[in-house]
Symmetry: C2
Subunit: 450 residues, 2 copies
């Protein structure tokens, strides 16, 4: 039972291989990967494209040499074309089109996700880009350096859209962001999205909301982008970032069951419907700690965790994925937006009776220089008083992301909102208050019950 | 049952009064306080003395007017001289020496702590100061502005000593810190204390360790300070900050039981041994969540919590103090040191079988500019794998204090070290890694079990 094949060399795949070796050093993991960039931090692409990182190789969590030294074999530039779950074989084709077969005892599918390519006319024009993998990144980078665009239009106000608005502004481009919804960053509530839109505008980014892009056309050296409500703009470069979907074709082709949004069905041991086949990361469903059900929540953190669990179990261990809370953070210019758990609408859908309360305070004692305003939204269940979720927007030096983690740790332990006041949190005037903002917000939520 | 008398107008006293009013608006809290500075943030004194805060009044958490508007009566400049727990009366003397009596239905003792005045010859000389209350602060400030000292010697390398070394350096003084123990900040482990000593020296602060100060003498316009191992130094100002002890004389005089270090014995409802008499804050013992026993741990955060509980119960509520973990953080120049829970020696004394492991990593993905090293020490129990405590030292922009709070929330919920890896913590490359440093340190602890 020592031949472990892993398809995919990004977060989930590498985590699985490393963990398998830790659990059982006799396991020989082989990673089959389409490109030549194992273990790259694709979350870091905007910072390379901004120019803040000069060397793209520094985006690797580990070098190929380090991966090799960990006892992991990398088969790069090989497309896994099919899985025969009966015969436990993977059909692999190399860059010259030569086919081969790999026999496995255990298989982990970690094929990730792919950018959604919306039905916009002109998507395939030169100067129009998607952004997910290293090759996408190189294509954008090449365009930036060769064509020196002065303006960019970003379709989609999600994480990638926000980070790229920041990145391309940093690079000196004039940026427009177009979002179909009512505000930016719809993964957080509207009042926070509006603050983010205001920050974008303060930084010179044009913001268009409620606009669906319909077409992109070449126009001399640039592009003309048209959309609903008479939207019409010129730009030298367009980036389309409207989300992703699981890359699960290989699994479906092998008769492995898929579920939500086409993601591979797994249990908490990360086992698929096929014997000895595991899946992890953005290609797979995710157990949600609060919903007590599966969902689709592709995040790098989750990919690392699920990969680790899959690797442990594939190597003979026995561990369950404890569940996601959808905890996430993003830096947009000087702001950080973060969330964990459920929002009001999600909580309602899940059958809770939620109350969401917004609270605003300083990140630390206002008498100490440099205090910044912080907005905290707490969602709790009226019936049980249980904490269901939180969102924070604040300055990027205000420890927003680790404050959301206090909520995340509390959610993990099924605490009530009121119990947050019992937590013994640290305080020094330059960094907090005797009641941390997290606790003040919790007390405000309780006060609003009456 | 509406006459609530509170002795002490600092964190615990004000928190108690505010909470009592929230619970029962018919309660009329009267606060008897010796000075005229209700609800001042004494944790902020170093930042006033550094010059970073120009107006001392901004140190008030609330103004007198705000306290009055909350329905709280302030009797300032009144010393509570005695409690008659039988007749439910407090003997009060005003600044002119006039005595009076206050009748109570419920009483909360929130008299705080006082600086320890060590047996150093010359402690009462002009230019030698303690620092705890506003009056101490004004005395130091007056000396700083009138005498314009160019050098300062600080006796004691604890929190106040460290913050004042930073503050007086910021003000332009040449500073020496003398500590009796082997390194600075003995509330954290020696490797962290040594890093702090190195930071002090980088910032031009002279550090003397293993020195017991014996005498201070006037020497022209300055002071000569002598100690063990031939220590001999001149300074224009000396600050003695060697810790504090509970101010519990009023309680002992009334026959109320005291315990550890002379602190007032309380239960988790903050009730003392006398009927209808509560105590809270630095004058009282503290229930420790991990030790499941009482200890003495004077901290502003705890004072707020205990005051709130005492106020709630005094107003007819029923709430227990959930316990302290001794969570604390301090900023020293560019570093923040933070801890929560038990250290190795404390865990051993408490009957655990601890393993403490030190781990060093970057505060965020190293490819993103500005990454700083962070040291994390985890103490866990070998028998149960339970998390017992953590210490972090890092840059003050590295979210050290809210990272310690992730440990604090985990300790509160009795988690194992291994379970830290199950937490769904936030990640974005400028602020963390897919496994937060907290989780990497936990995984390293587990790895070292073998």
């Amino acid at each position: 039972m020592n031949r472990l094949i892993i398809i995919g060399g990004s977060d989930a795949g590498i985590s699985a291989a490393l963990r398998a070796r830790e659990i059982d050093p006799s396991v020989e993991p082989t990673i089959v990967m389409a490109d030549r960039y194992p273990n790259y931090s694709i979350c870091g692409l905007p910072f390379y494209l901004s120019g803040e990182i000069s060397e793209w190789r520094s985006l690797a969590h580990r070098t190929k040499e380090e991966i090799g030294q960990a006892g992991i074999r990398l088969l790069m530039g090989r497309h896994a074309k099919a899985i025969d779950a009966e015969k436990k074989r993977v059909l692999v084709v190399d860059e010259e089109g030569r086919a081969g077969e790999l026999q496995y005892d255990r298989l982990i599918i970690a094929t990730g996700a792919e950018s959604i390519k919306p039905g916009i006319r002109g998507m395939d024009l030169p100067g129009v880009f998607l952004l997910r993998w290293m090759d996408d990144c190189f294509a954008v980078h090449q365009w930036l350096t060769e064509h020196k665009p002065r303006s960019a239009l970003i379709v989609g106000g999600g994480y990638i859209g926000m980070e790229m608005a920041d990145a391309l502004s940093f690079r000196g481009l004039s940026v427009t962001v177009v979002e179909f919804a009512e505000t930016m960053l719809t993964t957080v509530d509207k009042p926070l999205g509006e603050e983010i839109a205001a920050e974008l505008e303060r930084r010179g980014v044009s913001v268009a909301i409620g606009v669906g892009i319909e077409s992109i056309e070449r126009d001399g050296n640039g592009l003309t982008v048209k959309g609903s409500n008479g939207f019409n703009a010129r730009a030298d470069l367009a980036l389309v970032a409207v989300g992703c979907r699981p890359s699960a074709q290989l699994a479906t082709g092998a008769g492995i069951k898929t579920g939500i949004k086409g993601a591979i069905k797994v249990n908490q041991r990360m086992e698929t419907s096929a014997a000895d086949v595991y899946a992890a990361g953005d290609c797979a469903e995710t157990w949600h700690h609060l919903l007590k059900n599966y969902t689709y929540l592709p995040l790098g953190t989750t990919a690392h965790k699920q990969g680790r669990i899959a690797g442990e179990n594939a190597a003979g261990g026995n561990r369950e994925f404890a569940g996601s809370l959808g905890t996430q953070a993003v830096k947009i210019f000087d702001l950080v937006a973060a969330r964990t758990g459920l929002r009001d609408s999600e909580a309602q859908e899940a059958g809770f009776d939620p109350l969401t309360n917004q609270f605003e305070t300083w990140d630390h004692k206002a008498y100490y220089p440099g205090a910044e305003k912080m907005i905290i939204r707490i969602t709790g269940d009226l019936a049980t008083r249980r904490l269901l979720g939180a969102q924070i927007l604040g300055h990027y030096k205000s420890e927003v992301s680790k404050r959301i983690d206090i909520f995340a740790a509390s959610l993990f332990n099924d605490m009530t909102v009121e119990q947050l006041s019992d937590l013994d949190l640290s305080y020094t005037p330059p960094l907090s208050s005797p009641w941390d903002p997290v606790q003040m917000a919790a007390q405000d939520w309780v006060r609003n019950l009456k």
